[in-house]
């Protein structure tokens, strides 16, 4: 790395809030705080915006994953963890970096071509991820005005896959049911009736005057999978609804392995989100949209919004220590890598920032209490997410560029406990060169091996691995139709929950879901706790000029 010139000292050195890390949750908080008039300093140790939600070029992604993965050798112990601060009333507690990623394996099969196009990739760290049009994140963007900085495109289609390699369209709308070739007429009838039932249920919850409820209370509390069976929906439709529309992870038919058995009520809510998403923006094709130039655009949009409202941004600036009051143990500020000490009343931190266990022993109880949320906890019920990224030549489905594919539990192999989701994105959303596609894979798993194994199985279902010249003739007939793999990354990410701790709060890591619903909801909740239940982005006057210029297939999100 090139040595960067030393930073000039920051001025002022006193803020209401310091936010470290530019992930979605952190950026939402920074934007919300600065728009409410608070002074905010937003820092990121990386040279780019987005932290774990960033979109990066292939080399940057590679180096980020490697530097953030669990390394076999722990870093050499640095200077003593607790030092007196420059000021005598304060003590400083050193921070340690926690690695979220493990089992990182990156392989390139055609480095020459990738080298040539290396800067034309915008690859997501937290993929596969899309935005539902009726998602809370969209509401927040509209409310904050962040929508001015990002543009979306529709996901063209979604499919359900199985071990045969066949991809079947997800019949998620009236027109899709009509067109579907994989459903029988009777199945079309039952499915449409079910959708109508859900819609009438939604209409009624909006309208409080009517008291007639279509779905009984008892049914609402029963498992969703039982309710679907009660509606006479055959297994293949049940599986489409559960995994490709409600986007569930765990096998709802297997009580032993299912960690989260969905109630009908929640199921209806999930379908409601999907159905509302379908009709929200008239120029979106379906329920799902994706930001042009990658997911990294989303946190960046919030950051730009925050900057407009006076938030100060410093990238490539890690913090090395926290400053606590010697007497009371209260949080006072942070020490930057540049050595400067900055003070604030509140602090929001990226999930990677922890306090070293060894430093805790010498602290007082009050000091410990202040740092509570930064203490790494032994994970009970450890749940991880295995992610995979593939760059391919061609597309997994001809004529379709941006597509979502879901493999329901057990669809690929009998031991598959959770659903695998795959998102293919093309040059239309400016994430790769024209003739290529980027594929994202994810699956929830208990351990790395299990997750990686499932990812590889899904990959081989869709993609052809490059083979040495001599063997190619043999392979040609069987997998000719499958696109060729050029580059692949496999990694397993830990799922860390956010925690509110009074003055210091820790944000959650990228979660295992397909959208931002939970990420944003938890960020909002946390923000309200930190700031004292103040509403986010109260009455932003966003300029709502209708941009009439034609953008090819772009989805302009605007408030109607």
């Amino acid at each position: 790395m090139i040595d960067l010139p030393p930073y000039p000292p920051l001025d002022p050195s006193n803020y209401y809030l310091i936010v470290v890390g530019t992930g979605v949750s952190e950026s939402v908080s920074a934007a919300a705080a600065s728009s409410s008039g608070s002074s905010v300093l937003h820092l990121d140790p990386n040279p780019f915006y987005g932290s774990h939600f960033a979109s990066l070029s292939l080399p940057d992604l590679t180096s980020f994953l490697h530097s953030n993965s669990v390394s076999p050798h722990p870093p050499p112990p640095s200077s003593p963890p607790i030092l007196p601060s420059n000021s005598h009333e304060l003590i400083s507690v050193d921070l340690v970096h926690r690695s979220l990623y493990s089992s990182v394996e990156i392989s390139s099969f055609d480095s020459e071509i990738l080298e040539e196009h290396s800067r034309r990739f915008n690859v997501d760290l937290c993929g596969p991820r899309v935005v539902f049009c009726a998602d809370e994140s969209i509401n927040l963007m509209l409310k904050s005005g962040a929508n001015n900085y990002v543009e979306f495109k529709s996901i063209d289609a979604s499919f359900v896959g199985d071990s045969s390699g066949e991809l079947r369209n997800v019949p998620d709308s009236r027109a899709a049911i009509f067109k579907s070739k994989s459903l029988t007429l009777l199945e079309k009838n039952l499915l449409m009736k079910f959708f109508k039932l859900v819609q009438s249920q939604l209409a009624e919850s909006d309208d409080t005057t009517t008291t007639t409820v279509k779905i009984s209370e008892e049914d609402m509390e029963s498992p969703f999978v039982d309710f679907l069976a009660k509606m006479r929906l055959p297994p293949n439709i049940k599986s489409i609804i559960l995994y490709a529309i409600a986007m569930l992870d765990y096998d709802q038919d297997n009580m032993e392995t299912c960690r989260h058995l969905l109630k009908t009520k929640e199921g209806i809510d999930r379908l409601a989100l999907y159905i509302k998403s379908m009709g929200r923006f008239s120029n979106a094709l379906g329920a799902l949209i994706y930001p042009i130039y990658g997911q990294g655009e989303l946190p960046q949009a919030f950051c730009r919004r925050a900057a407009v409202k006076g938030c100060i941004y410093v990238l490539r600036m890690p913090i090395t220590a926290l400053l606590l009051d010697k007497e009371t143990g209260d949080y006072k500020g942070v020490r930057l890598a540049s050595g400067q000490e900055i003070f604030s009343q509140k602090l929001i931190l990226d999930p990677c920032i922890n306090v070293g266990l060894e430093s805790l022993s010498s602290l007082t109880d009050q000091q410990n209490e202040t740092l509570r949320v930064l203490v790494p906890k032994a994970m009970i019920n450890k749940e991880k997410i295995a992610r995979g990224i593939c760059v391919i030549r061609g597309s997994v489905k001809s004529d379709i560029s941006n597509a979502l594919i879901v493999y329901p539990p057990k669809s690929l192999f009998p031991e598959q406990l959770t659903a695998i989701r795959v998102l293919q994105l093309g040059s239309g959303v400016a994430v790769c060169p024209a003739d290529m596609h980027v594929l994202y894979f994810s699956i929830l798993c208990e351990n790395d091996d299990q997750g990686i194994k499932a990812l590889l199985s899904a990959m081989s279902n869709l993609i052809r691995l490059p083979v040495p010249e001599s063997d190619s003739s043999v392979e040609n007939d069987t997998c000719e139709a499958k696109p060729l793999l050029l580059w692949r990354a496999l990694y397993v990410q830990e799922l860390v929950k956010g925690e509110f701790g009074g003055t210091i709060s820790s944000m959650p890591s990228a979660d295992g879901s397909l959208n931002y619903k939970e990420t944003v909801e938890s960020a909002v909740k946390l923000y309200e706790q930190i700031m004292g239940s103040e509403e986010l982005f109260k009455e932003e006057e966003t300029s709502l000029e209708n941009t009439t210029e034609e953008n090819e297939g772009g989805v302009e999100i605007e408030e109607n």
Partner: protein
């Protein structure tokens, strides 16, 4: 207008703005009119009219002015400039359409411009249309999808560009895949397919096409069973499936192979008790042809009679109900007989062309029937007693059924080549719709399909008639399910019921009786069956005494086909006026008529049935008699019933006082019994 949002009430400042706009428009308009009158076609003047049109596309004079201007400029222009002038016009139209997509003037102008021969940009026209039809705005979309201007213009451009019908068919497929509630797209599809099938285009043979389309439209029907667009298309397809290559069927009286007995005057008291007796008083008997569609061209040249009977070469065929009308389902000729020994009569039709249905179908297959006429010249005394509908009926004896067979069994269908696959297609459809048991449309369709299959089964097939029970049940369910269309289902139920009754000799005999008082005349009793409509007439041409009492009939429509009818009971029905009985005036043989206990004379604000019958005013000129206007309808029905002896009109809303009875006696001099009382002669 559908799909458009109502504007909120205007605010004062908006009012002011719109007043200013109006002023501007008025100014523009007056400037334009002066240009128009002075025939100024300068660039500035034309621009002014374009501006006017952008604000108000409905200004038709402005469009005409532009046409004149274009012609003026085209005459003087360099040939190289022709395209640019016409392009400018297209642009103006496009701007006007932005204001109002349903502007007649704008669309017409566009057609006019294209007809000026600017073929280079025709491809652009289709692109423009596709753009309109893919508008992203939901409200505009609704406006466009079913916008007939757009569809008409599309057909116009398609014709000009010679776009293949296959391509247009694909376009309808795309539109339907996008939103299958697009009735216009389905309709256009039916038009295109009809044309492709008629042309016998490659891949569009009827059998494959209909199967393919059935499979396609099933998707719409099963996905959303309440959506009407798909159902309309489905009904069209069903119609195409059932439609025979020889669509015309004729049923005659006397029927093929029958023996009829003609007896002289006063036959009611005569000795003959044969079932096929016809009482003839004028030395002639009727020959009746009943077609399943209204036809024209029945004459002595299209129908030939081969018999020993003399003076029947130039038979006059008359259409019932209207003498003046050229089309009718029922045609009658009177055959004279002058012999005492049995005579064989052979009637052939279809040998020479000329019988054409109102829908344009020719009777192509030749068709003939033979019957024998016997004469029974025992002269009896004429019957003078009152005819009762309540007693004197003997049940049917099995021996007579043989004769009956020849009367109700119709000729076998000419099995055309497509018959088997059509039958098969209906069978598959029935299977499909049995899977949609809870849907209103599903039930209705199933009933229609079963009925279609029933008509396709030939009469001697053992399974004939098996579906009627199910059909009747379906219509009963529908009446309960959808009370809005109760009357329609009731009518269909009646049709099915009558078809069931006439489907076999066995079922018909249950309704046949002999009337002791009427010289054992055969009486068909269809009372207490909740009938609201009369059907299956082609099998009932032989009936002379008919009891339709205690039903729900609103009109006697259709009965005019039963030319032999002499006794008719319509009591206890729902007939509201004499105009609803209009068809009875064609039943010249009618002697006994009972219309008691109906609602005749009820002060109904609009007599809806009157519009269905031919106007009574057209006949008023020929009346030599002074008729009180309140009895005009009565007069029009009764005056033609020259043989009526017994008439019962008790229990109606009409007050049958002394005035009315004397009027009736005046109109019908032959009357002996009125409302059960013998009239003093």
């Amino acid at each position: 207008m559908h799909g458009r949002k109502r504007n909120a009430a205007s605010k004062p400042e908006e009012d002011a703005a719109s007043a200013a706009e109006a002023l501007e428009l008025r100014l523009l308009q007056s400037q334009f009119m002066s240009n128009h009158h002075q025939k100024i076609y300068t660039k500035e003047a034309i621009q002014l009219s374009a501006k006017l049109q952008e604000i108000n596309p409905e200004a038709y004079t402005a469009w005409n002015y532009r046409k004149l201007a274009v012609e003026y400029n085209l005459d003087s222009a360099d040939p190289s400039l022709v395209n640019s002038i016409l392009d400018k016009e297209l642009e103006v139209v496009e701007n006007a359409l932005k204001r109002n997509l349903k502007s007649y003037g704008a669309w017409y102008h566009r057609k006019w411009v294209l007809s000026k021969g600017q073929c280079s940009s025709l491809d652009k026209e289709l692109q423009l249309l596709n753009k309109y039809q893919k508008l992203d705005d939901e409200i505009k979309k609704n406006l466009v999808l079913r916008n007939f201007h757009l569809w008409n213009y599309r057909r116009f451009v398609v014709e000009l560009t010679k776009t293949s019908e296959q391509d247009e068919l694909q376009h309808t497929t795309d539109m339907i895949n996008d939103n299958f509630s697009n009735y216009s797209a389905w309709h256009n599809r039916s038009v295109l397919l009809s044309s492709l099938v008629a042309k016998k285009a490659d891949g569009f043979m009827p059998k494959e096409t209909i199967r393919r389309e059935f499979d396609y439209v099933h998707n719409a029907i099963f996905t959303e069973e309440d959506d009407q667009s798909g159902w309309f298309y489905y009904l069209w397809l069903l119609d195409q499936t059932v439609k025979m290559e020889t669509p015309l069927r004729a049923s005659p009286w006397p029927s093929d192979g029958s023996n009829i007995i003609l007896s002289g005057p006063g036959c009611f008291n005569g000795s003959s008790s044969k079932f096929t007796t016809y009482c003839s008083e004028s030395g002639s008997f009727p020959l009746i042809l009943y077609f399943d569609q209204a036809v024209s061209g029945v004459s002595s040249s299209t129908v030939t009679i081969d018999s020993e009977l003399k003076s029947n070469e130039d038979l006059v065929w008359e259409p019932v109900p209207e003498k003046n009308s050229q089309v009718s389902c029922v045609w009658v000729a009177r055959l004279k007989f002058d012999r005492t020994e049995p005579v064989k009569v052979k009637v052939s039709l279809g040998k020479s062309r000329g019988i054409v249905s109102s829908t344009g179908c020719n009777l192509i297959t030749p068709y003939e029937f033979v019957f024998t006429v016997h004469i029974d010249d025992t002269v009896g005394e004429s019957q003078e007693g009152i005819i009762s509908w309540t007693d004197g009926f003997d049940s049917w004896d099995a021996q007579s059924s043989k004769d009956l067979n020849s009367l109700i069994t119709l000729d076998q269908l000419e099995v055309d080549t497509g018959f088997e696959w059509r039958k098969q297609a209906i069978k598959i459809e029935i299977e499909q719709f049995r899977k949609l048991p809870d849907s209103k449309f599903g039930k209705l369709n199933l009933a229609k399909l079963l009925m279609a299959e029933e008509t396709m089964i030939s009469d001697d097939d053992a399974v004939k008639g098996v579906h009627y029970k199910e059909i009747l049940q379906l219509y009963n369910d529908l009446m309960a399910l959808d009370s809005w269309h109760d009357q329609y289902y009731k009518d269909e139920h009646s049709v099915a019921l009558l078809r069931k009754v006439t489907s076999s000799t066995e079922s018909l005999t249950r309704h046949l009786f002999r009337n002791r008082n009427m010289n054992s005349i055969v009486c068909l009793r269809l009372n207490n069956l909740t009938l609201s409509r009369i059907a299956a007439l082609e099998k009932l041409l032989f009936v002379q005494m008919l009891d339709l009492s205690h039903n729900e009939l609103h009109s006697a429509e259709g009965l005019e086909a039963m030319q032999l009818l002499c006794c008719l009971n319509l009591s206890h029905n729902r007939i509201k006026s004499f105009s609803a009985l209009h068809s009875l005036r064609h039943l010249k043989q009618l002697r006994v008529l009972d219309v008691s206990h109906n609602h005749i004379g009820c002060k109904h604000p609009v007599d809806t049935t009157r519009y269905l019958c031919s106007s009574s005013f057209s006949n008023s000129g020929e009346t030599g008699r002074k008729v009180p206007s309140k009895y005009r309808d009565t007069y029009l029905v009764l005056r033609d019933l020259m043989k009526l002896k017994q008439f019962d009109i008790r229990g109606n809303d009409l007050i049958a006082g002394e005035e009315f009875s004397s009027f009736v006696r005046q109109v019908v001099p032959t009357l002996v019994w009125l409302d059960g009382n013998k009239l003093a002669s």
